[in-house]
Point group: C2
Amino acid sequence: MPELKRRLAVARGDEPADLVIRGAKVFSVFTREWLDGDLAVADGHIAGIGDYEGDEVLELSGRYLVPGFVDAHMHLESSKLLVDEFARLVLPLGTTAVVADPHEIANVLGTDGVHWLADLCADLPLDVFFMASSCVPASHFESPRRPLLPGDLEGLLNRRRVIGLAEMMNFPGVVSGAESELAKLALPGATHVDGHAPSVLGKALNAYAAAGIRSDHEVSTIDEGRERLRAGMWVLIREASGARNLHALLPLVDEFGPHRLAFCTDDREPEHIAEDGHINSMVRDAVAAGVSPEDALVMASFNPAQWHGLRDFGALAPGYQADVLVLPDLERFVPELVLKAGRPVAEIPRLEVPEWVRHTVRIRPLATNDFAVPWEGDGGARVIGVIPDQIVTESLVDEPLVDGARALSDPARDLLKIAVVERHLGTGRIGLGFVRGFGLRSGALASTVAHDAHNVVVVGVKDDDMLRAVRRLADTGGGVVVVDGGIVKAELKLPIAGLLSDASLDEVITASQGCVDAARQLGCELPSPFQTMAFLALSVIPSLKITDRGLVDVDRFELVPLGL
Amino acid sequence: MPELKRRLAVARGDEPADLVIRGAKVFSVFTREWLDGDLAVADGHIAGIGDYEGDEVLELSGRYLVPGFVDAHMHLESSKLLVDEFARLVLPLGTTAVVADPHEIANVLGTDGVHWLADLCADLPLDVFFMASSCVPASHFESPRRPLLPGDLEGLLNRRRVIGLAEMMNFPGVVSGAESELAKLALPGATHVDGHAPSVLGKALNAYAAAGIRSDHEVSTIDEGRERLRAGMWVLIREASGARNLHALLPLVDEFGPHRLAFCTDDREPEHIAEDGHINSMVRDAVAAGVSPEDALVMASFNPAQWHGLRDFGALAPGYQADVLVLPDLERFVPELVLKAGRPVAEIPRLEVPEWVRHTVRIRPLATNDFAVPWEGDGGARVIGVIPDQIVTESLVDEPLVDGARALSDPARDLLKIAVVERHLGTGRIGLGFVRGFGLRSGALASTVAHDAHNVVVVGVKDDDMLRAVRRLADTGGGVVVVDGGIVKAELKLPIAGLLSDASLDEVITASQGCVDAARQLGCELPSPFQTMAFLALSVIPSLKITDRGLVDVDRFELVPLGL
């Protein structure tokens, strides 16, 4: 209350502000005007726009002041960076708040992991809000350390900074009225729910919306966008590393205005952010494509805050948190200065990482033999067909190379073994199959980043290299590794839950690039081999996927044998 | 959950809807389109818009389907009708939900009264949401039965259907940072707060908004509206019986679009609603003034629901409550059919009124002498100058007619006595003064409707008629009465808290008109004498007012003596 009292005194002009920004154009998200006036800040909040005096005065004529950007839906883990380093990366780009679904870490470390991550964010200058991960596992074909049950979600929803239920990825379950999914939606705190309904249209979409789910970020066409808006859903326009929807959806702004449209990044790789930017890159690209700066800014700030009910975020007006971007122009959208809660972002201390989040790769001792694929049939085998830069796959059929009673990789025909090894409980459960598209002539690629359960995924030519790669990940606590001839050629260590690094952005990018280069050396020409591999275990994206339980025909939503 | 399960089955088209409306244009508040498609209803909610079958099918080609209207801010008590009769009146006009501040009854019956009123509304087909009355009393010059303290508000805010803190009328207190007001704003449930800030502009408005108050319905000019929008506040455009702001504020729609604008009635007399309509009259008048029907409809339905966070109200889309108006045209906005939660409104049973709300007029036995005004001075006396159809008054000065040591009414100069008699606790406290504007040649007018504390206000020529009128109100439990020569000439009985009738609309209007006619007979030519009188005790509206504690100079915000 003393803070509020002083804020009001500053607003009245009876006391000097902590900071006054003078001479700039101040963007009103409410009226889409550029207001002339001093922006007065008191105690981290905006006291008023008008004629003010301050203890500190910044003269910024010719500049534009806009509210900090709010990412409407994202997964912190996709950056592979610990949140302090993520904050160091995105704050200077103007992202001052994010709404995160922590479902990657939840698959590995359960609610403990979510609480740890949320605690870790508590003192960051970046505001991180969480949605309770609704779909752990993504489907019953996947094996997280443990599933999150309605009781887990109830606990999370009661936590400060957890503001709703994260993307309901089990859209077939919702649409069909599965008790398990309706139980989640009936939770007391689950009045605010994000959606995830790729390609769902018509009556199925009506059912999904009728369940009370009022957003979707899996929108890739104008028609899908139109239908969602009409059904009362927000369209969260996504520009992720692997799924880029911005340009396809911008005509919605022309057609209906920016209302109920908000920007999000979903999954951005560290390289992508470092090279191209974050939410600011979406604003820049939207404006370059002809959207007015005012509309683009609203979709990047007020709209995401509004969708998520973040009442003091996303606007420059009295009472709002003073997250202010100083822009030199309305083209590049690279802030010249970022004020977070009224202050330039100070150096962010390195966060401490406890032991218990570093020991998550638990694999039953394996032998080369565990990667052997028994083969009796004389028909074809199911083969996962990789599509470069897509997370959907083709379901192919081909004759494997056979040696006795075993099917082998056949690099000459780009037919490689793929395995997913359960890595949370050390059960030794392993799913085996074949994949086409990696093009390896020798060696193996492996990773503990394998959506959503994040078991170990490994692709390789020889069983012993596959084994070596998996063992290396068990030894290092996880990450990405490239092995050839029994030797580790390159690796990116992600010791935190097998998902996150505690190194700097530069180190992560260097190691990551090293892995890609090593894969190239082995013959892989995929643009993003490890990103592609990371989604081969995601059992809710069509068509053929693989988990530790075996091959999943996603279209039929069932496990299928390797041989036809 | 079984309801939701079935609703999803209907949405999918797997089960027939309860009701399908076919052939009409369905308004989307989200895209401002008129959609073609069947509107399917299941279990009181909209299942979908598309191609549907139903147990019942209404063919309504050529008609327009729009969401039910939501009144963004109002006081149920102003209708003088018990809520069942109020619902009978407004539902056919298309108002299907209201957000009510119960501060009239709270002044008389405290939180007990609010809980009673809220319970009474629980089974009505009209959805009544409440805001916790933040300013009981309106100021310390007024005497309700008891003040509502922060603890009272905390209790109310925890109640189902109480969705926030009602209009913070003590805007000087908020702006100046008074502890009492900040304590209310700091309550756990007080994240959603309505404002009331007449004529507040500039830095004072910044302070008001910085306190977290994000709406105002006391907006009467475009400039005030602009400033509020820029300050992040919603403008609740009001068209009350005594304060009509619609036409003055419609240019805001042109300038900024309909966003963050919503319609409200605040205080509408029963005659006003019966003759002109309710929220639908604002839609009609806005459209007649050139606003597009789509914009007007949004301000009457989705926007008020959005401001108040009523997530399932104000739109025709899957999951929303099926409050549907069938309109034959987009000019008159008189529904041909109103569906409330998917059904035509059935007969509303009469509500039972308990004894304890009927005995609220407790007056210490008074004598004629109590109305005597001692007068020693030879200077002038302060006189309340009534302005017809306004609730603001002038602060006049005139020489009273003196008889010995007493000042008397002087009808020849339209200088009449006015008194406010404390009526909750029987203290006998009485405030005395003079008023100009009623024009009575004889007799007295009295009422227990006297904002906001609702003590008895009485204006008269002779003390014995004033006494008779007050006694009559004590005998009948309150209402409005006209007395002349010791005889009750007309009365409107409002036995419930001295504010509400339990009679029908027609009876209330007839009795009310009878009182106005009787006042006319006595020489009063004010357009709405009792409405005017009801606001003479409201100590937060300039300039000179009177309460049971005496004359209040509202501009200086202090009690002042009668003589200069």
